[in-house]
Symmetry: C2
Subunit: 229 residues, 2 copies
């Protein structure tokens, strides 16, 4: 693993608070891969052989039904580690992972990681915190799916995209494919498109990848977003 990759690893939420010497030990047994859009990292039902840490790029966690139908459960961004629960529990993957845009991924072998977790309380602590954070993200998504309409989910997504802005105008340059975002939000690309159009009524103007928001607070109010995140 290159020094720059090692440094990136040490800045991820999962490893940020882990003593450097423990990270180093894991890094020695690990390797880094750069993979193109479309690559399959692992498959639902398979055994977890690595912890994947996304250094750069984006990957989708995709759930599949036995008949082949698929859905995007979560999109992982740079800095995310996945999928820890499968490694901890030595349980088969509940989802497949697919590269959405060219990604640089550190792969940490499961066996040594499990041993390190058992020997190093700091690492287990970091794992527990990482799991707790993802748990909350999943709960938010379930609330999203059960409480909000498609239009509202789009509004909520846009407003979290500009979470640094409390109120007033904002401009987003979405660098993801709309189809990925739509899939993550549990809707078709067509519905995403219609929702964006619909949001003009609350001051959202879109031109391709560029989306202008008149007043973030108004968008938040429409989406029913509260302070919790």
């Amino acid at each position: 693993m290159k020094a720059s990759d090692r440094a990136t690893l040490g800045r991820t939420p999962m490893f940020r608070d882990v003593p450097p010497e423990i990270c180093d030990r894991l890094a020695i047994g690990a390797f880094v891969q750069t993979l193109p859009k479309g690559a399959l990292l692992f498959e639902q039902g398979g055994e977890a052989e690595f912890l994947h840490v996304l250094l750069e790029g984006r990957c989708g966690l995709v759930g599949a039904r036995s008949d082949g139908e698929e859905c995007v459960v979560e999109i992982m961004h740079a800095g995310s580690a996945f999928i820890l629960p499968a490694i901890l529990l030595e349980a088969p993957y509940l989802m497949s992972a697919r590269v959405l845009e060219t990604s640089r991924i550190a792969m940490i072998p499961a066996g040594p990681l499990r041993r390190a977790l058992d020997q190093e309380p700091h690492l287990m602590r970091a794992a527990a915190f990482d799991l707790a954070r993802y748990w909350r993200i999943l709960v938010q998504q379930i609330k999203d799916l059960k409480l909000r309409s498609a239009h509202e989910r789009v509004a909520a997504h846009l407003s979290t995209m500009c979470r640094q802005t409390a109120a007033g105008p904002a401009v987003l340059n979405l660098d993801q494919e709309f189809r990925s975002i739509a899939a993550k939000l549990g809707m078709t690309p067509e519905s995403w498109s219609r929702s964006i159009r619909q949001l003009e009524t609350v001051g959202v103007r879109s031109a391709g990848r560029r989306i202008e928001i008149e007043d973030v607070a108004r968008l938040r109010a429409f989406a029913g977003v509260d302070g919790l995140q």
Copy 2:
């Protein structure tokens, strides 16, 4: 805390593998409450003051929108501990908890628990594993919501209710209110009722709380249930 409650606590998934002396220490600072149906354990947005361990009964974790609209995210059964992520991260609750049927609940103060987690690797390990298990339950639910129709969700629910039966006939005596199950599955009681009726076509006969399944394998096939759980 009574000796019998302490014993029940020690058999929960979260505390099963925690050394008894650590459990004892936590149990000393804890107390047990019996609460009736409808009681509110804590509210979304509030600060996490206790880890709740459900010794007996059932509780619903309920997400709310700012306009008051609610949904059931998860139903906790005897042996479940909640909500650990809020305690670990010292973050506000993302959901409220409501007693669905008279429940006996151990309440472990958050402060001492956090200190114990930091001092006792065994406890942190148990916490991480518990979080990992719940993470998978939430992922399964998201897949359920995104990949399955209401009818299929009901079928999937029934088939997990009789998971000890691989194939052949089974009889369920659902002791929960249908409205709770429906809410957990993300549908109205009316839709649940219609789904149950619809499932007659795959050999499900219902009479009030009693549900007879001709062939569990057939039901599973209809629901698209795979081996993963």
